[in-house]
């Protein structure tokens, strides 16, 4: 973040004062070496707003993470103590463990489900359009409201159903169960996020030429073999994109937890994002800012690793 903004700042004067250094390919027809100032006016207001509303808060946040600011009143610099304390705070560490386990599980389940749906939709089924319409409905609904609906299903309908079936272990709400609540969150997240991943897989499956399968048929390869040896390698790029986009999104999960458990029971399902937001009301503003900075560094590290992975695979984003 800070690195890229510095790049932009140094690039700005260079571009303005020295336009002749640029090559002439896309200049206006009037002159090959000067640029119509209109182009700057198209970009500058947005850049200014972006710097003000996105970059500035990020820098302010880093600044306050080095203080003991409670969100109000006086503050003073305390160096890195916030950071040191975070590593000793079981509540924060637990939220990281929960968030990573949740994000990993959800990424796997979402991709398996989405790939299965995409394969089904891409096959020779009847009423394709109608079935497709139904599968993509969750994409247009508010995650929070969906969670409220599932909240009732999990805490009232499911226990009643289980009791009738005589399966007592699940006759109480799984949302109130410290060890099971996270599974409910995974399920609702999958329900909500699968359509988005399915679309990407559909795009991938449709990019595979049918001749490939015809050749495989001639060679006598069965369906499952074709899927493993042909389809999967050919759509690997789409899988990588889905895993990257999904994992990053699930790390920041918030609404669905708010709608289902509110972080409970106890603190069993509190995500990192929820912890950070608690700094707004909890009086530990600077402490949670330090948490946010650590969270940022972790996501950045993951992004860098993922970008490397993409480059090695030669996938274009």
């Amino acid at each position: 973040m800070t690195i890229t903004s510095r790049v932009a700042q140094t690039a700005r004067p260079a571009g303005r004062q020295n336009p002749t250094s640029a090559s002439e390919k896309t200049g206006t027809f009037r002159s090959k070496n000067t640029i119509d100032p209109t182009y700057y006016w198209m970009v500058l207001p947005v850049l200014a707003l972006f710097a003000f509303f996105i970059t500035l808060p990020a820098l302010v946040g880093v600044f306050f993470s080095l203080t003991n600011y409670a969100g109000y009143g006086d503050w003073k610099f305390i160096g890195l103590s916030n950071y040191v304390n975070i590593f000793k705070d079981p509540a924060v560490l637990q939220s990281y463990v929960f968030t990573f386990v949740f994000a990993l599980t959800t990424t796997v389940v979402v991709n398996v489900v989405a790939l299965a749906i995409a394969l089904g939709l891409n096959a020779k089924i009847k009423w394709r359009t109608g079935i497709r319409t139904v599968f993509f409905i969750p994409m247009v609904l508010s995650a929070l409201i969906v969670s409220f609906v599932f909240n009732y299903l999990f805490s009232n309908s499911l226990p009643v159903l289980m009791e009738r079936l005589g399966y007592t272990p699940l006759a109480t709400s799984i949302l109130a169960n410290e060890n099971l609540a996270w599974i409910a969150i995974v399920l609702v997240t999958v329900w909500q996020a699968a359509p988005g991943a399915t679309i990407i897989y559909l795009a991938g499956l449709q990019s595979v030429p049918s001749e490939v399968y015809e050749a495989a048929d001639l060679d006598g390869a069965g369906s499952f073999r074709q899927f493993l040896s042909l389809t999967l390698p050919l759509i690997m790029g789409y899988l990588v994109i889905n895993v990257i986009l999904g994992f990053k999104g699930f790390l920041g999960t918030y609404e669905i937890i708010v709608g289902l458990t509110g972080g409970g029971p106890g603190m069993a399902t509190q995500s990192v994002a929820m912890r950070i937001f608690s700094g707004f009301t909890g009086g530990d503003y600077s402490y949670q800012m330090a948490n946010a900075v650590i969270y940022f560094l972790i996501t950045l590290l993951i992004s860098v690793i993922q970008l490397r992975l993409i480059q090695r695979r030669g996938v274009s984003l």
């Binding site: 973040m1 890229t4 972006f50 990020a58 946040g61 247009v140 009732y152 309908s157 449709q206």
Partner: protein, 302 residues
């Protein structure tokens, strides 16, 4: 990628689980396609995972308080339509609706205008450091998760008097700008420069070229960006909840949250309210589903 390619059976083959009985006949694409009924049945059953919760929501919304209980899956008889009127009044639906509509409309317009302008300027001046640098800078937002900036951001917007729906619009537009610009730039590059040059010969300014030539040509991408912006804004919970100080100006998802206490004693009222909040996007989607899916698909292919 258009709607027609979406619905077309592009590769003529197999999902897993498919018996290879029809293997011989299926190869010639002339024969049209042979329906796989087993798979169709499987997909229909699977689609219940989506339909059941929706059915449940509708059923609950139509119940009177004494019909609630059990699994909640039974269809109410008689149906209690007054729940909607009650929820309409209780949550002050029109006000929340207008607030949500305000945020959504301006976020969509802002996203379309800002992202396309920026993308055009950057794509046409790619050889200049300033524009390449701007691109990298805007893209950096993709690496900053919202939780990281949210606390200082809220303080900042509150100081500026932007703790209202207008402030949310700013953040929706700026938050989406990296992704939207990325989508637009690829598209602008595919528009030949010669098209603009002839217009410039006739004396058109850069603004006019953008407005009269480029923007209309961007129509397919405008649809994609518009759909993403619409869904993102309408359904957003985090930013309105954190930013909008006055509960009277809150958007529909946040209102559902604010009324949880009240809803807990009256579930049918709650579900009627949920349904009314979900209805607009659901109706738009069902009416324009072909169009919406092809738009989203274009974003996915990018």
């Amino acid at each position: 990628m258009t709607a027609s390619t979406l619905s077309k059976p592009v590769n003529n083959t197999n999902p897993p689980r498919r018996k290879n009985l029809s293997g011989r006949t299926r190869k010639s694409s002339r024969e049209g396609y042979k329906v796989n009924w087993w798979l169709t049945a499987l997909m229909l059953v699977a689609s219940l995972t989506v339909l059941l919760p929706l059915y449940f929501t509708v059923a609950m919304a139509l119940k009177s308080p004494d019909q609630i209980g059990g699994t909640g899956l039974a269809w109410p008889n008689p149906m209690n339509w007054e729940n909607f009127a009650a929820a309409y009044v209780a949550t002050n639906f029109p006000r929340a609706f207008m607030s949500t509509a305000f945020v959504t409309v301006f976020s969509v317009l802002g996203s379309l205008a800002c992202s396309s302008l920026v993308a055009y300027a950057i794509a046409r001046n790619w050889n200049r450091k300033f524009f390449r640098g701007s691109f990298v800078y805007l893209l950096s937002a993709m690496f900053i998760p919202f939780p990281v900036i949210i606390l200082p951001l809220i303080k900042q917007t509150a100081l500026l008097g932007l703790d209202n729906p207008a402030g949310v619009v700013f953040l929706h537009v700026l938050g989406g700008i990296s992704f939207n610009t990325l989508l637009y730039i690829a598209f602008v590059r595919s528009i030949p420069v010669e098209l603009e040059e002839s217009a410039r010969m006739d004396g058109a300014t850069t603004w006019q070229v953008f407005r009269k030539i480029i923007f209309p040509l961007l129509a397919p991408m405008n649809a994609t960006v518009g759909i993403f912006a619409f869904l993102g804004s309408w359904n957003d919970f985090l930013l309105p909840q954190m930013m909008i100080a006055d509960p009277a100006l809150q958007t529909l998802p946040v209102v559902q949250m604010l009324f949880q206490g009240e809803f807990n004693t009256n579930y049918s009222l709650a579900f009627a309210s949920y349904l009314m909040a979900m209805a607009p996007t659901l109706v738009v989607y069902i009416l324009a589903q072909r169009w919406v899916l092809s738009g989203v698909m274009r974003g996915a292919v990018k």
